[in-house]
């Protein structure tokens, strides 16, 4: 009934509803709202008044030149930084709910959280237990995800032996298992070859079509995915 577009699998349906903290009842999530986000770094206003409303199934491409504040914005949305103005929240049937549960967010930044001493298999299993503890994801599924992303013979090689692109793939394999509603991807295509990029693009498309949202940055052209463009240059103040 509610949030129909959030039900590609039985699992995700668990997340598509939200317990309203005030009325203690379930409500449907229609989208993510950024309201007048601004950030100041060392007395310089990086950007201000960033206002976007993202509906289920939509994606946002944060563009801007080097140093314009894309990473900063993504970290703010992910909840890793508290040093900002404005507000972020879910839109639940026309009301704004400012409590975003962390289990709804997947963040993948410049640092990927892949332990170089562990093998791809161990790395991904750990992440699954950490970020998807409520889902019964078995080791078969984890192996499959890694193979699908192009790691076959390297499943049990410690990651510090892997190439730059292979290490990124270990991190990106999370997208294949993810149950999170919003993906926040900071330059996911770094170090990937063409095949890898198109795989990730497909992955994002599938996520969107099942009602997920994506917020990403990339200096490379994202050709196959439909994304709303947000150019941070439009939100910069003239230096005074």
């Amino acid at each position: 009934m509610f949030a129909d577009d959030f039900q590609p699998t039985v699992r995700r349906s668990l997340l598509s509803i939200l317990i309203d903290p005030i009325n203690k009842q379930l409500s449907a999530v229609n989208g993510l709202v950024l309201d007048g986000i601004g950030c100041q770094k060392a007395y310089r206003q990086l950007f201000s008044g960033v206002t976007v409303s993202l509906r289920a199934g939509q994606g946002l491409h944060v563009a801007g030149s080097n140093g314009s504040g894309k990473t900063t914005l993504l970290k703010i949305i992910a909840g890793l930084s508290n040093d900002y103005q404005g507000s972020i929240g879910w839109r639940c049937s026309d009301e704004l709910n400012h409590v975003i549960d962390k289990s709804d967010l997947l963040y993948l930044g410049h640092l990927t959280g892949v332990k170089s001493l562990l093998t791809p298999l161990e790395n991904l299993s750990w992440w699954v237990s950490l970020c998807l503890p409520a889902y019964p994801i078995g080791s078969d599924e984890i192996t499959q995800a890694l193979q699908q992303i192009g790691l076959n013979s390297e499943l049990n090689t410690p990651c510090h032996f892997l190439s730059a692109g292979q290490q990124r793939r270990v991190a990106l394999a999370r997208l294949l298992l993810s149950q999170q509603r919003v993906w926040i991807l900071d330059e996911p295509f770094t170090a990937l070859d063409h095949l890898g990029i198109s795989q990730i693009e497909n992955c994002i498309k599938r996520h969107q079509s099942s009602g997920g949202m994506v917020i990403m940055t990339s200096h490379q052209v994202v050709s196959n995915v439909e994304l709303i463009n947000l150019n941070l240059a439009d939100y910069q103040q003239r230096p005074n």
């Binding site: 992910a78 909840g79 890793l80 930084s81 508290n82 040093d83 549960d101 962390k102 289990s103 967010l105 963040y107 930044g109 410049h110 640092l111 990927t112 959280g113 892949v114 332990k115 170089s116 001493l117 562990l118 161990e122 299993s125 750990w126 992440w127 237990s129 950490l130 970020c131 503890p133 409520a134 410690p158």
Partner: protein, 233 residues
């Protein structure tokens, strides 16, 4: 009901996942658990070397020597407690995990204690031998080291969480932890002295247990705050 049972289960899953991952990482470098042990043995040997023939003095000062060395071994290893996780971004994932950071922190410290504190505790007979402490009080000394290394790990982890984003945090960590260690030092040395002299243990033992409980319950709060601010930096 269902939700909370489910939540408990997933907390448990996260706790074990972190515990076992950290233990795997520590054991993959064979050094990690041998090193603190080796360190404490070498330093204690050096001390006894320094004390030379005067084995009487050695026996008298052995409580202080044991504590100072255990403290240094724990401090030395604490530097990397959160550092590698910070460097490779795992810490961000840990903080972003929907599960309680409190439990994650507990799991990490526990794993760390398994590879630093526990080997030291297990080496008590060897340490006693080198320092000429009577074997009759072995259980008491072991218990003291068990409680002591636990306290040292938990308190030191506060400093580790605050300095993890700093390039040369290692020594700043010592600087921050030393003052916090003093109460534990005082009671710990007191306890060992009582144990070796065969005096009643209850007062100093209860102080140590109290300190450990307080450290286990309270220090994760400070550590959580420290980790969050480090990720923001």
């Amino acid at each position: 009901m269902l939700v909370s049972a489910n939540e408990n289960f997933s907390s448990y899953r996260v706790f074990t996942a972190i515990l076992f991952r950290d233990l795997t990482v520590y054991f993959r470098y064979r050094g990690s658990w041998i090193n603190p042990l080796f360190f404490i043995l070498v330093v204690i040997t050096l001390f006894s070397l320094g004390f030379g023939a005067d084995s009487q003095a050695l026996r008298v000062y052995s409580p202080s020597i044991i504590w100072v060395t255990a403290l240094l071994a724990v401090l030395l290893s604490l530097d990397s407690l959160f550092k590698t996780d910070f460097d490779d971004g795992s810490l961000e994932q840990l903080i972003l995990s929907s599960q309680s950071l409190y439990l994650s922190v507990l799991a990490k410290i526990l794993a760390h204690w398994f590879v630093t504190g526990l080997p030291i505790v297990l080496a008590t007979p060897l340490i006693s031998l080198i320092l000429g402490v009577s074997f009759e009080v072995l259980p008491e000394v072991s218990l003291g080291l068990l409680l002591g290394t636990g306290i040292l790990s938990f308190i030191g982890a506060i400093g580790a969480s605050l300095t993890v984003s700093l390039a040369s945090g290692g020594l700043l960590l010592s600087l921050l932890s030393m003052p916090l260690y003093v109460p534990a030092m005082i009671f710990g040395v007191q306890y060992l002295q009582d144990a070796i002299a065969g005096w009643p243990l209850v007062p100093s033992l209860s102080m140590l247990i109290g300190l450990l409980l307080a450290a286990v319950v309270l220090s994760p709060l400070a550590i959580m705050a420290g980790l969050k601010l480090s990720v923001e930096a």
